[in-house]
């Protein structure tokens, strides 16, 4: 009789549960990096201020300072004397009276006021009904004033013009200082935001050893850098939209070009400066090193690239160099598309300048980049 023996008991050791796995696609790293970057920016109140609020305040301040004044009124002085009252009456009768503000003053007071810029012109009525003007040919407003006053007095005295002329008043949006300024501010803001945003983020991550931690994963390094640059482009859309929208609402700017073209020009700028930002922060271990370098790079562009005033004021021999700067190309292309409605194709030279700067610095940055 066979006794069935119980099998020896295997020591109960539950097989540890093998983990459930996901499958990630090619772009999962890139999209997560981009989303993480945008989330971080969104949660950083200082960033929101510098990127969005500060440029608007700047545009507002400058826009108000340089807003269009009502038609220039020229202040003139009439030297006190027997014919002074009569002269004043003649000016007030003339069709140009709204453009002239005349005062009677003692000769010395009038001349002193003229020297100080209080008056644009001094009128000295002579005893025989003739007039003597004191004006300064080097002062445009003085030259203008002489012509206006002369016209006024002549027509008040009964001059008949041999020709019939008509004029149309034109102070349309599109040619004012604020129209020149807003595209420049957009360009400068795209540059500042891309350079600081990328430079600071990189140095900070390098200091935290986060870059080193990232390269310890299978993350593609180019994904990381392109995600950083892409975050700038997304922010750029918002910045450009805000500044341009601000110009339209507050200063009645007229946007002549297509918004899509304008945004694409902005995207070229953002890419260009992202590349330069990457390069300037590619090795720095300290924020001070990176910010010094970035200031050095941006300083010439703040001055030369026509942000606040046209670079046409610099000697012509400098123009080829100025036009080779990426911010000049961005500002020029923005002004052309915003103010003149230029097509993208017509801006291809400027877009090329930006692309070359961006691509070359991006490639160089990839080579010299320090991850640890």
């Amino acid at each position: 009789m066979a006794v069935s023996e119980p099998l020896p008991k295997v020591k109960d050791s539950p097989e540890p549960k093998q983990p459930t796995l996901l499958h990630n696609g090619r772009w999962s790293g890139f999209t997560h990096l981009l989303a993480a970057r945008m989330t971080e920016l969104w949660r950083e109140p200082e960033v929101m201020f510098w990127v969005f609020v500060f440029p608007l305040l700047l545009a507002l301040g400058l826009g108000i300072a340089f807003r269009d004044k009502p038609a220039d009124v020229t202040p003139v002085a009439i030297v006190a004397g027997s014919d002074a009252e009569n002269t004043l009456a003649m000016l007030e009768r003339s069709p140009e009276h709204s453009l002239i503000r005349a005062q009677i003053a003692e000769r010395s007071v009038a001349l002193k006021g003229f020297r100080l810029g209080k008056y644009d012109l001094v009128i000295e009525p002579g005893s025989a009904g003739e007039f003597h003007y004191v004006y300064d040919p080097a002062r445009p407003e003085s030259v203008l004033s002489r012509r206006e006053v002369d016209d006024a007095l002549q027509s008040a005295a009964g001059r008949k013009n041999p020709l019939t002329t008509a004029t149309t008043v034109s102070s349309e949006p599109g040619s004012r200082y604020i129209d020149f300024l807003i595209p420049g501010l957009i360009g400068m803001n795209v540059m500042n935001a891309a350079m600081w945003g990328i430079g600071f983020a990189l140095v900070d991550m390098r200091q935290r050893k986060l870059l080193k931690r990232f390269v310890g994963t299978p993350m593609r390094r180019s994904d990381f850098l392109t995600a950083l640059a892409s975050s700038r482009i997304l922010l750029m859309f918002v910045e450009v939209g805000l500044l341009l929208g601000f110009g339209v609402f507050f200063f009645h700017m007229r946007v002549m070009g297509q918004w899509l073209s304008i945004l694409l020009v902005g995207a070229f700028g953002a890419l260009s400066f992202s590349g330069i930002g990457l390069l300037s922060a590619s090795r720095a271990q300290k924020i001070e090193t990176a910010s010094g370098l970035m200031n050095l790079i941006m300083m010439p562009m703040w001055i030369f690239s026509g942000v606040f005033f046209s670079y046409e004021r610099f000697p012509a021999v400098l123009h080829p160099f100025i036009k080779a700067l990426p911010l000049t190309a961005l500002n020029d292309a923005l002004r052309a598309t915003v103010l003149e409605g230029a097509t993208l194709a017509s801006q291809s030279g400027r877009l090329l300048v930006m692309a070359v700067w961006g691509v070359l610095s991006f490639l160089l940055a990839l080579r010299v980049f320090r991850w640890t």
Binding site: L21, L33, A36, R213
Partner: protein, 312 residues
């Protein structure tokens, strides 16, 4: 068992002068928890970062899971998880966002929820990283290493600066990973951690392995599992240790650098202690201090190098 990590004659010289690692050899089997133990500046971090492929060695060979960094970097990264000494993760991302981000880099990562649960971070899933305690941050750092479902886990001083409870939590996590078949290489300068967590250890000093084996083997090499420490009046720094060496059951004698404390490594304290007391009495001096305890890795280290592991 196949080797998970192997390195031969590893050397690293910084700037052509500082030799951080000088000819280091390691063989770590699959499924092992292996510890690199050594004082600060011994070359542990340099060694582990070379093995992680984050630093290039000046010379020497590294093979991980049968692959090398030169030819299979991407594959290797897919199959290992690392935790650096002091990484400060982005403070304004939440715990879950951070784990998701790291998961996105791997072809086949684990579910973030599973990792959160395993590392007891589920409750903190939506908290910003900046608001976590030291222990929680360290667990998150390990979570970012585990989310890629690695075969090999590198941990560089994972519990430095943590309170005892957080430390034990991390030990449990490491053991759990090992139970699923994973290989662990960790550095530490905590003796207790090395003794309780590691299957095998290499003690590193001045960039070289000075002893290797299981914790028990290393302690056994002292010649005795017990340590008798005493101080007696009249004992001076330069005095001979010969009389103590002659006591019954004493395997080796050591004198602390700075004082009169003498340390005897003994097999049988019940024979040694009475004889010791007798000898002190015959010398007309009296006992200032006496203690006996089990030998630890600290004793191994002091014995090998003449220094304490943590000189702080």
């Amino acid at each position: 068992m196949p080797l998970a990590i192997q390195c031969r004659d590893l050397r690293k010289t910084y700037d052509g002068k500082v030799e951080a690692v000088r000819g280091l050899n390691l063989e770590i089997e699959s499924g092992e928890c292996f510890g690199l133990l050594g004082p600060n500046g011994a070359g542990k971090t340099t060694t582990i970062e070379i093995l992680e492929g984050l630093l290039a060695p000046s010379s020497g060979q590294v093979t991980i899971l049968g692959k090398t960094w030169e030819s299979d970097a991407r594959e290797l990264r897919e199959s290992m998880g690392i935790s650096l000494q002091e990484t400060r993760l982005a403070e304004k991302l939440t715990v879950r966002e951070t784990i998701d981000l790291f998961a996105s880099f791997y072809r086949e990562p684990r579910l973030s929820d599973d990792v959160l649960e395993e590392l007891q971070l589920s409750e903190k899933a939506d908290a910003w990283v900046g608001k976590l305690s030291g222990g929680q941050r360290q667990r998150l750092a390990v979570a970012t290493a585990l989310v890629g479902n690695p075969k090999v886990l590198f941990l560089d001083e994972p519990t430095t600066g943590l309170d005892p409870q957080s430390r034990r939590q991390l030990w449990d996590i490491v053991r759990g990973f090992q139970k699923r078949g994973g290989t662990v290489l960790l550095t530490t300068h905590y003796m207790e951690e090395a003794e309780r967590l590691c299957d095998r250890l290499a003690i590193i000093d001045h960039g070289q392995v000075i002893a290797e084996g299981t914790p028990a083997e290393l302690i056994a090499r002292l010649g005795g599992h017990h340590v008798v420490e005493f101080a007696a009046s009249g004992e001076q720094n330069g005095a001979s240790t010969e009389p103590w060496k002659a006591l019954p059951g004493v395997e080796s004698v050591q004198r602390d650098d700075d004082g009169g404390l003498v340390r005897l490594h003994v097999r049988e304290p019940h024979l040694t202690v009475p004889a010791l007391l007798d000898l002190i009495m015959r010398q007309n001096s009296h006992l200032l201090h006496l203690s006996t305890r089990q030998a630890s890795l600290e004793d191994v280290f002091v014995r090998l190098t003449g220094r304490h592991l943590r000189e702080d």
